[in-house]
């Protein structure tokens, strides 16, 4: 659905002491976002997320490389490609002196929708976003959350197959964020492909089917969410906790062939390690450990959060 090929955007910033004045906002990005996915783009500020999204929408011209949406080259046929895209920017304003329905009516006509379908589509967008009570209100009087909803209503108004959303949850309270998540899931179930960035990584972790991590314009890791979340060492990650640190747990585990990457935690009362084997082998390991006299008080399988992986990637702890 969305295909990025060697996508590069280079621009100048003012050179300061020790920092070059030339910036590669995106550096030869290659990505494929399949139809029907929720694809999350993650990265710190300045990683190139917004630049990438703007190039996908045809708002910025890449220095090199190309983007296609639904097989249409965005740079060569921007208007044809934009027909397939609903876009929401990270920081945006609305026309404060219009009413909610007038705002949507403007964009419905600007998208050249069928005249007969416009009223129904506006009703649908207003209904989907829970904006019915505000239909006749001036935009100036809406809360931040309501304005965000109206922005999304505008993005979905012309029923595009692809939604490109830049930080749609920014500025929303937890309840509104939850509602937004549910809404995006519902739209995804309805067949929309969603290309999204967010600083709230836990939200993306719950929502996305695929994810890409950007760092200084480069793609650090990309793939299906379960692939990206999988630890970089083979096997499952397991944590064993001791009641007291009276047993050389790390040494004992380190000597076993099915165990690797042993990392002691806390006061040597717990250890995280990679384990090659199924549940039966793990039960056998635990039984041997108890038999060796370890005062065990817990065993758990460890799964890393996206936030943790992102942080470890950012610090270069893992590659």
């Amino acid at each position: 659905m969305i295909h990025l090929e060697n996508l590069t955007k280079e621009y100048d910033v003012m050179p300061t002491a020790g920092k070059p004045g030339q910036v590669l906002a995106t550096d030869r990005l290659n990505l494929d976002v399949a139809g029907g996915e929720i694809f999350g783009l993650v990265g710190p500020n300045g990683a190139g997320k917004t630049t990438t999204l703007k190039m996908v929408c045809g708002l910025l011209v890449p220095t090199a490389g190309r983007v296609t949406v639904n097989g249409i080259d965005v740079e060569r046929q921007p208007e044809a490609a934009q027909k397939h895209i609903g876009y929401l920017a990270d920081f945006f304003a609305l026309y404060d002196d219009l009413k909610v329905w007038e705002y949507l009516d403007y964009f419905a006509h600007a998208y050249k929708m069928e005249e007969a379908a416009i009223a129904a589509r506006i009703d649908y967008a207003i209904g989907e976003m829970g904006l019915e009570p505000k239909r006749e209100s001036y935009i100036a009087g809406l809360s931040r959350g309501m304005k965000q909803r109206l922005g999304i209503a505008r993005a979905i108004l012309h029923d595009p197959p692809v939604l490109v959303l830049d930080e749609p949850a920014s500025g929303l309270d937890p309840k509104a964020r939850h509602e937004l998540k549910e809404l995006l899931r519902a739209m995804n179930r309805a067949g929309k492909t969603i290309f999204i960035t967010s600083h709230v990584l836990s939200d993306l972790e719950e929502m996305c089917s695929s994810i890409a991590i950007l760092e200084k314009g480069k793609l650090v890791r990309a793939g299906k969410i379960e692939h990206v979340m999988r630890p970089d060492t083979p096997g499952r990650r397991v944590r064993i906790k001791l009641a007291i640190a009276s047993f050389p747990l790390a040494d004992w585990l380190g000597a076993r062939p099915e165990v690797s990457a042993v990392v002691p935690e806390g006061n040597f009362t717990s250890v995280v390690f990679a384990f090659l084997g199924g549940d039966a082998e793990l039960a056998d390991l635990v039984a041997k450990l108890v038999a060796a006299g370890a005062p065990m008080c817990g065993v758990e399988e460890v799964s890393e959060s996206l936030e943790k992986i992102f942080s470890r990637l950012s610090t270069g702890e893992i590659m």
Partner: protein, 530 residues
């Protein structure tokens, strides 16, 4: 899509024309119209023809409409794109399916829609004035066509500025700039240089007083003293034309040029804006030159003065006429060069698309070929006209005229190559800084040359022209004869300086060549996902 169903126009109308606001505006206009009308009727002098107050009312109402449309409308159009960019709403418009033309037209008429409403509210006063004052209906109608088309041309120019407007530029300052430009337009019948009537939309106010469509034929001498009188006749290459269609053609053509720049760029990424293609830019300048040459008062201005010069006598020697055209084209072609400049973004893209060709010598001398060709073409046309129309007794040397044209064209090329090089320099606002350095250079050299008496002798003038060939604009046979080698040296100096700036520009191009080859997709740091 017709104009009245243009979504951008409707959006502006909805936002600006709420009932409350419309009633307030209409009430204010009604009160002002009534008070003005009553006062004028009350103050009518016995010596004036009956109903003259009506004519005054019409002129005041029309004047207010012109001011509203020119000031208010220009300000609204100045904000039309710029403010949307500042609010981050413009990107949403860019991703809609509105064509650049639809978006431009929607903004052109939509942004000043409240001002159009004010004009409409002042119409009753104007119409009452026209009826009472006995104005010719066709004249009043024509005046409104002038007002409307003139305003559209000015608004379209304001839209171009709005599109190019960068953050941090003061809108009021830009408005002042537009007004300053407009103040340069003849508002009355100033026919000193060009045989054409007033170009400012305020001409509409003067028009309504006219009782006849006749082109008043003013002799050359009369025309000299006719400042303030209205003549509806213009002369284009000797052909007498009515001023109204001339004015309307000029407004329409310039509005079209401005709208072309807007529609070409409005939905583009601002980093790759290009006002016109090189051919379009050249076409615009040739059109302006055609107008200048066509309306120039050849038959009068190139007559030899018999009597001592008096202050309003604008007649000129052939070389003075050429100097004037060269001076005008100097500014015009500098602007042409600016529209053709390539910034670092465009260079990077060209380097990726065209490879080595984008950093070769031909790329390094950009935009010199277009500017040189245009300057020579326009200059030769002026030389040809002077050769044809000059008084045979007047001093005129064709070779010298061509030399003068050559050195001035090279001068423009030299400065443009310097500015293009500066434009590729990685500093804040490189072009502005380039202009600042250029102004400092010319100011310093002028002061020094005056202080050192370098303008005193022909040889010294030729030497100064190595740095600043301004003296070449008024170069006469006396100043040329005997010091030809020095002048040729000054001309060579322009070529040498241009070559240095082209070399510097090429270094900038080479510095932007991407060092590593673009890696193929297969060598991406990580496998793609699907």
């Amino acid at each position: 899509m017709d104009i009245f169903s243009n979504p951008e126009l409707i959006r502006n109308a909805r936002a600006q024309l709420r009932w409350g606001r419309m009633i307030s505006v209409a009430a204010i206009c009604a009160v002002l119209s009534l008070v003005t009308g009553y006062s004028l009727a009350h103050e009518q002098l016995a010596s004036e023809p009956p109903g003259q107050w009506g004519m005054h009312l019409l002129q005041i109402a029309l004047g207010a409409q012109v001011v509203a449309l020119l000031l208010g409308g220009s300000l609204a159009c100045l904000n039309a794109v710029h403010r949307e960019k500042e609010m981050n709403t413009f990107d949403f418009q860019r991703v809609t399916r509105l064509t650049p033309w639809e978006l431009a037209v929607g903004k052109l008429f939509g942004a000043p829609v409240l001002v159009y409403f004010v004009v409409l509210c002042l119409m009753p006063a104007a119409l009452v004035g026209a009826v009472v004052g006995g104005a010719r209906p066709t004249m009043v109608g024509a005046a409104y066509v002038v007002l409307l088309l003139g305003s559209i041309a000015v608004h379209a120019f304001a839209m171009v500025i709005s599109m190019l407007h960068q953050r941090g530029t003061n809108t009021a300052a830009v408005l002042l700039l537009i007004l300053a430009l407009m103040s340069g337009f003849p508002t009355r019948n100033n026919r000193h240089l060009f045989d054409i009537g007033a170009l400012n939309p305020f001409f509409a106010v003067q028009m309504v007083e006219e009782k006849s469509w006749e082109m008043v034929s003013l002799s050359a001498q009369q025309a000299e003293k006719a400042d303030g009188q209205l003549s509806l006749g213009d002369v284009f290459f000797g052909l007498r034309l009515h001023h109204l269609p001339v004015l309307l053609v000029l407004y329409a053509s310039f509005a079209a040029w401005f709208l072309l720049a807007v529609t070409r760029n409005l939905k583009r990424d601002p980093s790759v804006y290009e006002l016109y293609t090189p051919s379009q830019s050249l076409g615009l300048l040739m059109y302006i030159n055609l107008l200048m040459l066509g309306f120039f008062r050849w038959d009068y201005l190139l007559q030899t003065r018999e009597a001592p010069r008096i202050f309003y006598d604008t007649r000129m020697a052939p070389n003075e006429a050429q100097g004037m055209f060269l001076g005008l084209n100097l500014s015009l072609f500098l602007v042409l060069g600016l529209t053709l400049f390539r910034n670092r973004d465009r260079i990077r893209r060209r380097l990726r698309e065209l490879g080595d060709a984008a950093s070769g010598w031909l790329a390094a001398i950009w935009p010199a070929p277009y500017v040189l060709a245009g300057m020579l073409l326009a200059g030769l046309a002026a030389v040809g006209m002077i050769q044809w129309k000059r008084d045979p007794k007047a001093e005129w040397d064709l070779v010298l005229a061509i030399f003068r044209l050559g050195i001035v064209a090279l001068w423009v090329v030299r400065d443009l190559l310097y500015l293009q090089w500066m434009n590729l320099t990685r500093i804040r606002r490189p072009l502005t800084m380039g202009f600042v350095y250029l102004i400092v250079f010319y100011a310093s050299t002028s002061i020094l040359f005056f202080a050192l008496d370098l303008y005193d002798t022909p040889r010294r003038q030729a030497i100064t022209s190595f740095f600043s060939p301004a003296a070449a604009l008024g170069l006469t046979g006396k100043q040329w004869t005997g010091v030809e080698p020095w002048w040729l040296l000054a001309m060579f100096g322009q070529v040498a300086a241009a070559a240095v700036f082209a070399w510097l520009g090429r270094q900038k191009l080479l510095a932007l060549v991407p060092a590593p080859a673009v890696a193929p997709a297969a060598e991406s740091p990580l496998p793609t996902v699907g």
